[in-house]
């Protein structure tokens, strides 16, 4: 058992006929994901890589009962696509799309809470249970089974660190993308809670960045509730305040969300903080027996 997804998780792809949707559907199928259906308004009846396409999520849901959905839709349509999935009973929403308006994200999260559904993202690379199944856009080749759970706010940096771990012989249990937006669904705490309970995970890597207080909250949670060793890397040590560093969420606002504050909080919670991404594997080796 991995966290959030496993071999049996049935997946819907919203926006399956677009370039991204099509490409990643193929990649997910290759990795072993149970992609059962896709949607694309007006394209109902087509197939993508053998996966049937429907006009509406409701129709796809009634026929194939997907548990999760991954969204490859333009940002302007993100809110409707997310609500459509939630209304149709989807319990895990993976929102790849970037630039979804902030107020749209608030509505998505509000309705997801009302429906008791989990959301990853927006602006996430998704989630991968190494060697079993993935719902996301991460390159297949980096993810080898192993004892380390990884949660990251950013994609490529996550791959970079997972790649460095793999080079050092350290595989991953589940790798989770939290999403780079200001408002995202599951946060570090939610995912740490899962890793703490996951028998396959022996150590946890937390990849954060400047902006917001998610890392500080994670630190408080780790102190109280996490017995497994945690290694962290925080991006943005050199970032000036007030500038949005790529991710909508990566901004030091009014003196909050700084690198220093996050590292201090994590260290105080007993987390080993790497100064460079490449230090993560060696720190991991120290904490893993």
């Amino acid at each position: 058992m991995a966290i959030i997804i496993d071999n049996d998780t049935t997946v819907l792809v919203q926006g399956i006929t677009g370039y991204q949707g099509r490409f990643h559907t193929e990649q997910m199928l290759k990795y072993g994901t149970r992609v059962v259906a896709g949607t694309s308004p007006g394209k109902g009846g087509q197939e993508v890589a053998g996966v049937p396409v429907y006009d509406t999520v409701r129709e796809a849901a009634q026929r194939h009962r997907p548990v999760a959905s991954i969204l490859f839709v333009p940002a302007q349509l993100g809110k409707e696509a997310a609500l459509e999935a939630l209304e149709a009973g989807i319990k895990l929403l993976v929102i790849i799309s970037e630039h979804i308006p902030l107020h749209d994200s608030l509505e998505i999260m509000s309705f997801a809470r009302a429906r008791g559904a989990m959301v990853l993202g927006p602006n996430t690379f998704g989630v991968i249970s190494s060697g079993r199944s993935k719902i996301g856009i991460m390159p297949n080749q980096f993810f080898q089974p192993g004892p380390v759970g990884v949660v990251s706010r950013s994609g490529t940096l996550g791959y970079e660190i997972v790649g460095a771990m793999r080079a050092a012989g350290l595989g991953t249990s589940t790798v989770v993308g939290m999403g780079g937006d200001r408002v995202v669904g599951l946060n570090f705490m939610d995912i740490l809670r899962e890793f703490e309970q996951d028998p396959e995970t022996e150590a946890i890597v937390l990849i954060g960045e400047i902006g917001g207080t998610a890392e500080e909250e994670a630190a408080a949670f780790i102190k109280e509730k996490v017995s497994k060793p945690v290694v962290a890397y925080i991006a943005g040590a050199s970032a000036p305040p007030g500038k949005r560093m790529g991710h909508a969420g990566a901004i030091i606002e009014r003196g909050r969300g700084t690198y220093a504050a996050k590292v201090a909080a994590l260290r105080a919670a007993g987390v080993k903080v790497a100064e460079l991404p490449q230090e993560v594997p060696s720190l991991l080796k120290k904490v893993l027996r």
Binding site: I137, A237, K243, P277, Q278
Partner: protein, 370 residues
């Protein structure tokens, strides 16, 4: 997108939120002719905090003083910003100053009202227990009972409460309908005559939602390079170092900057080409960076959706077109790595696979060039 104070106040007016009488002048002469009866306050329209401390807010009790103050504001930059517009407003007779804002709380994934009876100063300096933080349910919005809660916390006199409730509800409507990240009134003034007036207005609109707000005037405070980057959908920030950086992914770009700093270097910029960038986009990115005259360029690609060969091709094309103005250090791994390296080699370029090694190298080059 942050709005100028006068634009925020125009929005306030549209939404029925009381603001002082005022006019915007674009020159000292226009300020004189604006016909505002003293006493007035003149406020430099710049997107900077602490305008008061920076000399950007001046008072005038006579027409002569208006002239003098306007000249002063238009002449010298305030907090490093040059002043193109001055807002001239009636001077309020202030009895109390409150703080009132609506923004988004990331942890709660919800809008929040922030309110304090200690207005007029930087909210960062107000102790937490003097600030009310009231989360809002987006499914419900801001009903009158929420306004009552806030009025209660601010200990407003009961005859002001209906007016306050209307103001707060209008502020929330603005926040939602205009896709604001922040609407802030600091100070919200209670005048000696017992009126509520928004003496300042800070409004920040969500850039990601601008597409549905053609009615809002665009406030552009970006350099030519930033404007060009935006056109190509590149995430670009100018910094003050001397090493140009091109990477893919926001997190890894930040980490690249941090790694350079770790080894004693400083980046000239943050530039994230994003996922799956085309040859054309990468070429545009390179041109933007070269135009900022760095001492060296660091390309850090961890190929996933982005293909190494595309980046290599773009670099080679730019090289063929203009030559490379500064030394380039390349780190390249991932999707189509071998093909990328082959293209580079065929054009006399080498690539590293380890990020630290490449970072150390480029810092060294930049140092020796400086």
């Amino acid at each position: 997108m942050r709005l100028y104070e006068y634009m925020g106040k125009d929005l306030f007016r549209t939404y029925g939120i009381p603001v002082p009488q005022g006019v915007v002048a674009t020159s000292p002469a226009a300020a004189e002719l604006a016909g505002m009866k003293p006493p007035v306050v003149l406020k430099a329209q710049i997107l900077s905090g602490k305008r008061g401390k920076g000399g950007g807010i001046l008072f005038a009790a006579t027409p002569q003083e208006i002239k003098v103050a306007a000249e002063r504001l238009f002449t010298a930059p305030i907090n490093g910003y040059s002043v193109n517009r001055v807002l001239i407003e009636e001077r309020l007779d202030i009895a109390r100053e409150l703080y009132l804002a609506i923004t988004v709380n990331r942890s709660l994934q919800a809008p929040v009202i922030l309110a304090s009876a200690q207005g007029g100063m930087d909210i960062e300096e107000v102790p937490a227990e003097a600030i009310l933080t009231r989360p809002l349910e987006v499914a419900i919005g801001l009903p009158s009972y929420v306004a009552r809660e806030v009025a209660s916390f601010l200990a407003l006199p009961s005859d002001l409460r209906p007016e306050f409730a209307a103001l707060l509800q209008n502020l929330y409507r603005l926040f939602r309908e205009k896709d604001a990240e922040l609407v802030e009134i600091n100070p919200l003034v209670i005048t000696a005559a017992g009126q509520l007036v928004a003496a300042d207005a800070k409004v920040i609109i969500d850039d990601d939602a601008l597409f549905r707000h053609p009615e809002l005037v665009r406030v552009e405070e970006v350099s030519e390079a930033e404007a060009k980057a935006r056109q190509y959908d590149l995430a670009y920030v100018e910094l003050d170092g001397n090493i140009g950086v091109l990477a893919n992914g926001a997190g890894i770009t930040m980490a690249t900057l941090d790694t350079l700093q770790y080894y004693g270097g400083r980046a000239r910029n943050f530039l994230d080409i994003g996922g799956g960038a085309s040859v054309e986009k990468v070429a545009a990115a390179l041109e933007i960076i070269f135009a900022s005259r760095p001492k060296a360029l660091f390309i850090n690609i961890f190929g996933g959706i982005t293909r190494c060969d595309d980046v290599a091709t773009a670099l080679v094309e730019v090289k063929k077109r203009h030559g490379l103005p500064v030394p380039v250090v390349i780190r390249m791994v991932g999707t189509n790595e071998e093909e990328g390296v082959r293209i580079l080699r065929a054009n006399g370029l080498e690539a590293y696979t380890r990020m630290e090694e490449a970072a150390q190298k480029v810092v060294e080059i930049a140092e020796s060039a400086a």
